[in-house]
Amino acid sequence: MATPSRARPGIWSIRGPMSQRRYWMLAAIGLIVPVLAWWAVANSGWVEKVFMPTPGSVWSRTALWWSEDNLLQDAGISIYRVTAGWLLSAVIAMPIGLLIGTFRPVQALLEPLTDFVRYMPAVAFIPLVMLWVGIDEGSKVAIIFIGTFFQMVLMVAEDVRRVPAAQIEAAQTMGATRMEIIQLVLLPSSKPALVDTLRITMGWAWTYLVVAELVAANSGLGYAILKAQRFLQTDKIFAGIILIGLIGLIIDQLFRLFHRKAFPWMHTKS
């Protein structure tokens, strides 16, 4: 007699299996329940509307912001600042990180220094930045740059260092020069990790954007949030925060999409 087949382990077994359908069902519940809870609390009358606006009022405030208060412009200028600061930091951090991860003398010269500077809080540089750069666009870009650059250098260096030694040595025993190893092995091998580093630092850039706009700006999503506080427009504060979250989520997903398209070899399995 054949042994009876064992029952499929339950979803609560450690690292247990779960069907796609069930996964997305639970994911939807995880998203909907907090919104429902928010709605319930806001409408219950336990909390003042000033402190806790209803989802409905946040929605209508967003619509109003869009139609009358130029939401698009606020979002646009914020996206511009984030992108400029982040791009500036990427353009400089990539080559420096590559050199740190490739050549020991550069590592010795720059890594301890970078390690030290990155522990200095970027926010504390704001007074200095305002003094040096002024209060126009340059200062926001500078704050985002300070917040992301040093971390990015160290992450890029680490990405390059993670290239397996055997990949480098195989190229060496095929006669590759130093330049060829950088171009044909180190860069293509670390590229997927570098894109991930760019994606993660983009998230940090948004954090520093809001800091920069809260302190010294007269436009942008962060500034709109600050202004809303002055007028006790809690619903607009909510709208601003949710908008920033959504923009971040979209950018993150775009990076992931790019990752899948650009590095098919990482996402294929036989």
Partner: protein, 287 residues
Amino acid sequence: MDAHKVVTIAPRIRVRGLGKVFGEKPQQVEALKDIDLEVCDNEFVTLVGASGCGKSTLLRIIGGLEYQTSGEILSSSKPVAGPGADRAMVFQHYSLYPWLDVMENIRFSRRLRANRHDITSADVEMASGRAEALLNLMGLSNMAHAYPNQLSGGMQQRVAIARALMGRPEILLMDEPFGALDAQTREVMHDLILHVFKLEKATIVFVTHDVEEAIYLGQRVVLLAPRPGRIDTIYKVPLPAQRHQDMKHAREFLDLKKEILQRIRETSGMKTDSELLEQLSRTAGNQ
């Protein structure tokens, strides 16, 4: 002093009085000491020994990936001063380029400046013909456009071997290339590498910790002893050039295997298993 040797041409690789010390002054470790070794053209030499005997270090110094602290290495009579296309290396794993497909991996050396001196289109055509031939030789012709992570461990090592052969190296250095494969795949790879050895008239230095593998593949088995790493014995394998899996059960094969294993135990400074077990059971009995 070499006059008594019947060597008509200079050996492919000559290692003379080679020593390697790791680390800086207070905590130095002597990894290799007074290594003398010659590898002739079209010879298959295997290096075995207990872990820490420096067999991989020796191979890496020959490949130019490490430097010696004393002595010299001549490759085709020229001193070795770093890695070069004349000494291709095959590693245990993680050496393939996962962003390139099988064919692109095999043709990698063609992208290097050192190999871009082809003048005529006939040269280029010959090279692409060689890539195809190596692909077929390795039994990968239907895998040309697969990525390495779509291949089994055995197939990945075939690609690595084909890639190393692509540049027509004078010597192939193999650092435990089958160490991560299962026993069945390893047997298949053994016969494949012997076939390649014959077909390509290759010269191979092969590091392994598997004595059976060392005897089956090698014409000579070099046994290294640890602390400091040195050549203990060089065995000539008493098997015909054309190897066959059945030979692994032949008396000569088994005797040599036993002898080498025994010697590894002696040189590694560890007590034999039975002694160790006896001692353990005695201490257990005393409690």
